[in-house]
């Protein structure tokens, strides 16, 4: 690896520059609120962010090869780059969806963008982190930004949600740090490469196992894995869809990336961690799917879906192989796009309803929108012609490839998929107008971007579903 700071930090620098620009603009507020066109500030800040994110993406793509910097505390490899780009895309999409949110709080539009960019910055730093200190700081950077974002909209529910996220996060961080301190004690190093070398040569002790599990639990909270899973339903119920769009994707990508790195080295030398990952993943999926059966609130359902899908991804990682890692990343990519599609649709109808229940899902003026949403839901359920279907095949393939020992677990997973299908079908069915729910409700789309985003995501879902080959080949290349 080449020690080259410039190549590593181009995207980070661009993001930081954008943050500074947003801050300056926020202080200056170039157009006063009395200006005739009320949304001008929102537009300006959006454009700046979009340029910043696109610049950062271009910067990520610019550098070729692997690099390391700051005494191997940050590295850039192809998988880091790929996941970083995914993070940036998620950020970009949520910028397109933020109109509803910012119209409710026109004053704070620049603040909002600063927070989003900070979250993205934290995310891509964490993906590249190669020691625990960097990892911890970047993750917290991301989490704190998200915390403020959740609490950003006016009103009590968002504040409650933000607070819950903060507290749970704090506890999980405690676990994380506890685990890290054990590792530090065992190896007197925080650098992943060094730790890996030490554990490769030494006999592993029980302390090491417990430390790994603690780190896993700490990270797992961000994916809403058991034992810290319950927050997700309350937080999603109280949040706004563009924030949820970010919350349900960026931490997931980041934590999955980090876990792949940790499991391939630092935490990968004990078998207990695999068992724990499997058990926690299964329990989470079971919990989320069963909870969703009776649920009627769309956001809560999507929260369950989020937890369940995160759990599936983690279950793949329990059998750690390069194929499993690429399957997990593939699943992640598929999930991210379908999920963003679903949230884009929620974003369209959200302003009209205080409490978004299933029977209100059909309130859209275009059948195409409804169909696209249904497609995304069916994709999340893993029905074919969508990327979720291919993702599911690879998930099971990577599990079964590791041997028949996992067959019972696979069978349990199958049952979970089926229970999941139940509520996804409920979601997809929601788009059909029936006599009881046909409320003639005249409404106009507030956000002109949510429709293109929705259709684009649906299109991507279908394209990956039909022609998955390129993407999959790239995913496999990442981990060879």
């Amino acid at each position: 690896m080449v020690n080259d700071l410039i190549n590593i930090f181009i995207p980070h620098i661009i993001l930081i520059l954008t943050i500074i620009v947003q801050l300056v603009l926020g202080i200056l507020k170039p157009y006063s609120l009395t200006f005739k066109y009320k949304d001008i500030n929102i537009r300006i800040s959006n454009i700046v962010t979009v340029i910043g994110i696109i610049g950062a993406t271009a910067g990520t793509l610019y550098s070729q090869g692997d690099y390391a910097g700051f005494n191997y505390s940050i590295i850039v490899t192809s998988d880091v780059k790929a996941l970083s780009i995914l993070v940036l895309i998620c950020g970009l999409v949520s910028v397109f969806l933020n109109t509803n949110l910012l119209r409710g709080n026109r004053q704070g539009c620049y603040k909002y963008h600063v927070l989003v960019l900070t979250a993205l910055l934290g995310g891509i730093c964490a993906l590249g982190a190669n020691d625990f200190l960097t990892l911890f700081i970047s993750l917290e950077c991301m989490s704190f930004a998200l915390y403020f974002l959740i609490a950003f909209p006016k009103g009590y529910p968002s504040k409650e949600a933000g607070f819950k996220y903060l507290i749970t996060n704090a506890v999980s961080v405690a676990f994380f740090l506890f685990g890290v301190s054990y590792i530090l004690g065992l190896t007197s190093s925080l650098n992943f490469t060094e730790i890996t070398q030490i554990f490769e040569s030494e006999r592993c002790s029980i302390i090491y196992a417990i430390a790994s599990i603690m780190i896993f639990i700490g990270l797992g909270m961000k994916l809403a894995l058991f034992p810290f899973a319950n927050w997700i339903i309350d937080v999603y119920a109280g949040s706004e869809s563009s924030v949820l769009n970010l919350l349900s994707t960026v931490p997931k990508i980041v934590v999955t990336g980090v876990l792949i790195r940790l499991l391939s080295g630092v935490m990968g030398f004990n078998t207990e961690i695999n068992a724990v990952i499997l058990i926690l993943g299964l329990i989470t999926a079971l919990w989320a799917n069963i909870y969703a059966i009776k649920e009627n609130n769309v956001k809560k359902l999507l929260a369950c879906s989020s937890a369940a899908n995160a759990a599936y991804m983690i279950i793949i990682l329990a059998v750690f192989s390069s194929f499993a890692a690429s399957a997990a990343v593939f699943y992640l990519i598929c999930y991210v796009f379908m999920n963003m599609g679903a949230f884009a649709y929620v974003n369209m109808i959200e302003p009209e309803c205080k409490l978004l229940t299933l029977d209100k899902l059909s309130q859209t003026d275009s059948k195409l929108n409804a169909a696209a949403f249904a497609l995304c839901c069916l994709g999340l359920a893993g029905l074919p012609a969508t990327s979720g279907f291919i993702g599911k095949i690879f998930l099971l393939y990577s599990l079964l490839q590791s041997g028949l020992i996992l067959l019972p677990i696979v069978l349990l997973l199958l049952i979970l998929f089926t229970i999941g299908l139940y509520f996804y079908i409920k979601l997809a069915r929601g788009i059909i107008k029936t006599k009881q729910t046909a409320i003639h409700h005249h409404y106009k789309i507030l956000n002109s971007f949510s429709r293109p985003v929705l259709l684009l995501m649906a299109l991507i879902t279908v394209i990956i579903g039909i022609l998955p080959f390129n993407l999959l080949a790239r995913c496999i290349l990442l981990f060879q």
Partner: protein, 498 residues
């Protein structure tokens, strides 16, 4: 002379209905119900004629393997190929869809645009199942079929429970197909271990080196998936509900073809691809088949809803097909395929009759019906022939299928128990005449019931019933016409050159 075989292309065969369906959904398509219906009907019939060309120009061998790479990393291709087995089922599919398309006229009153689009989409998925040459292509269509089926059952169903039944159907089949998926993955993976090539083409599978125990495991996993569709008795409970609550044309398709996908898959995978493993399973499965046959025949007698009687009779007949497959010889296999075709037509006809009765009398309870024969003599004539075919009267198609299946099971070389199951399956001829004659006797004979029919069958219904009856006669009197093709189906994969 123009060579017709040049225009025969499997992807076109499979995706043609989908294209028609998309055309119907397009915004430029006039929003006129009659026009939509006629267009859709035309499309289905056109497609039927196209499929017929495959039959005409088929000469021993397979038609146009079309397999571009799909997921190259795992050797998976998006492959289609047609052999005798696929050909027979394809033809059945197009016939039943044509009949169902015609039958939709009076049954579907709302949302015609979406209905016909979904119907065409449904046809594509089923043809995809029958013509897939790659296991993952097969699985793709197998799952894809759930989506149109669900919406067709749920939103155009008869009676209030349609949504519930559709949900039951989709959950059952989805779980089954996931089990099947794990079986397929294991199949693919162990084939890779055995032959050292990653390959998804069903015809190229060679599992001789894989131990029988593993084959049994894979076979069982697959069978759970196929068994839900077929259905095999403990996992059949979705069927009566779905068939009863679906609209009549959809019931025709469900019973006529959807169940046959299960039979097809068992032949294709368990029998042809995993023969070593299936040897151990077949005797057990034969017992399940026997339970299917006898148990559901008993249950059918206790039903009072005419559609439920027909639904249970379907399960019973599917048991016969399963028994034929379990014999693991060419006679049983031919019988199973032949009976699939025969039963596909018979059950489609029976559901059509139920639908007509339902439309005219607005009643499905057999105790409230009666005396239809006097009011609707033409319907009575057709119904009698179809019912007689379903109880296996010679000279009609059902008889030939039953006899060949059971003879195959008798001639099975697996062990003596399989032969005994065949003997014990024979009393189904008595049981089936009990419940079917109850249908005829209570519904059509006797004094007029509470619900009186207004008029005899309409012209389009006449066309449906006539074509079914004529086909049943042709198949029953000249089974050789189709058996000549069916008997070329191989019991093992080895003989098929893909």
């Amino acid at each position: 002379m123009f060579d017709f075989s040049n225009i025969l292309s499997l992807p076109v065969l499979v995706f043609l209905p989908l294209v028609f369906g998309i055309i119907i959904l397009m915004p430029f398509f006039p929003n006129n119900d009659i026009l939509i219906r006629r267009f859709a009907k035309g499309c289905i019939i056109f497609h039927f004629i196209y499929a017929l060309l495959f039959w005409i120009f088929y000469n021993n061998g397979f038609i146009s393997l079309y397999a571009p790479d799909w997921i190259k990393t795992l050797g998976i291709s998006f492959g289609f190929a047609m052999d005798e087995l696929a050909l027979v089922f394809t033809l059945l599919t197009t016939i039943v869809f044509t009949l169902a398309g015609i039958a939709s006229k009076l049954h579907i009153r709302h949302g015609q645009r979406y209905y016909y689009a979904l119907l065409l989409f449904f046809e594509t998925t089923i043809l995809g199942i029958f013509n897939a040459s790659d296991i993952f292509t097969f699985f793709l269509f197998w799952e894809l079929e759930l989506i149109p089926a669900y919406f067709l059952i749920a939103y155009w169903g008869e009676g209030g429970n349609a949504k519930k039944s559709a949900m039951k159907f989709i959950l059952y089949t989805f779980l089954g197909s996931l089990f099947m998926l794990s079986g397929l993955i294991l199949l693919h993976y162990f084939n890779f271990l055995a032959t050292n090539t990653l390959n998804g083409q069903i015809g190229l599978y060679n599992l001789d080196k894989v131990s029988p125990e593993l084959q049994v495991l894979i076979s069982v996993l697959l069978l759970i998936g196929f068994g839900v569709k077929l259905p095999i008795v403990p996992i059949h409970t979705w069927l009566p509900d779905a068939h009863t609550d679906a609209a009549t044309p959809i019931s025709m398709i469900l019973a006529g073809i959807l169940l046959k996908t299960g039979a097809y898959a068992i032949i294709r995978f368990n029998l042809q691809t995993l023969p070593e493993g299936f040897k151990y399973i077949a005797p057990v499965l034969a017992v399940f088949a026997l339970i299917n046959i006898i148990y559901t025949a008993l249950v059918a007698y206790a039903q009072t809803d005419i559609k439920r009687i027909v639904a249970y009779s379907s399960i019973s007949n599917m048991g016969l097909i399963l028994l034929g497959i379990c014999s693991m010889n060419i006679i049983g296999l031919s019988g199973a395929v032949f009976h699939s075709v025969a039963h596909g037509l018979i059950t489609a006809g029976l559901f059509a009759v139920c639908g007509i009765v339902l439309l005219r009398c607005r009643e499905r309870n057999i105790n409230k019906l009666g005396g239809i024969a006097a009011k609707m003599p033409r319907l009575f004539g057709f119904a009698t022939v179809i019912i007689l075919a379903s109880i296996g009267l010679p000279s009609l198609a059902g008889f030939v299928g039953e006899v060949i299946s059971i003879t195959g099971a008798l001639a099975s070389e697996l062990n003596d128990y399989t032969k005994f199951t065949a003997l014990f399956a024979l009393p189904v001829l008595i049981l089936s005449s009990c419940y079917m004659l109850k249908f005829l006797h209570k519904g059509f004979f006797g004094e007029e019931g509470e619900c009186k029919p207004a008029a005899d069958i309409a012209n389009h219904e006449f066309v449906i019933l006539v074509s079914i009856v004529v086909l049943l006669f042709i198949l029953g009197c000249f089974p050789a016409s189709i058996l000549d093709i069916i008997q070329n189906i191989s019991v093992t994969n080895g003989a098929v050159v893909w």
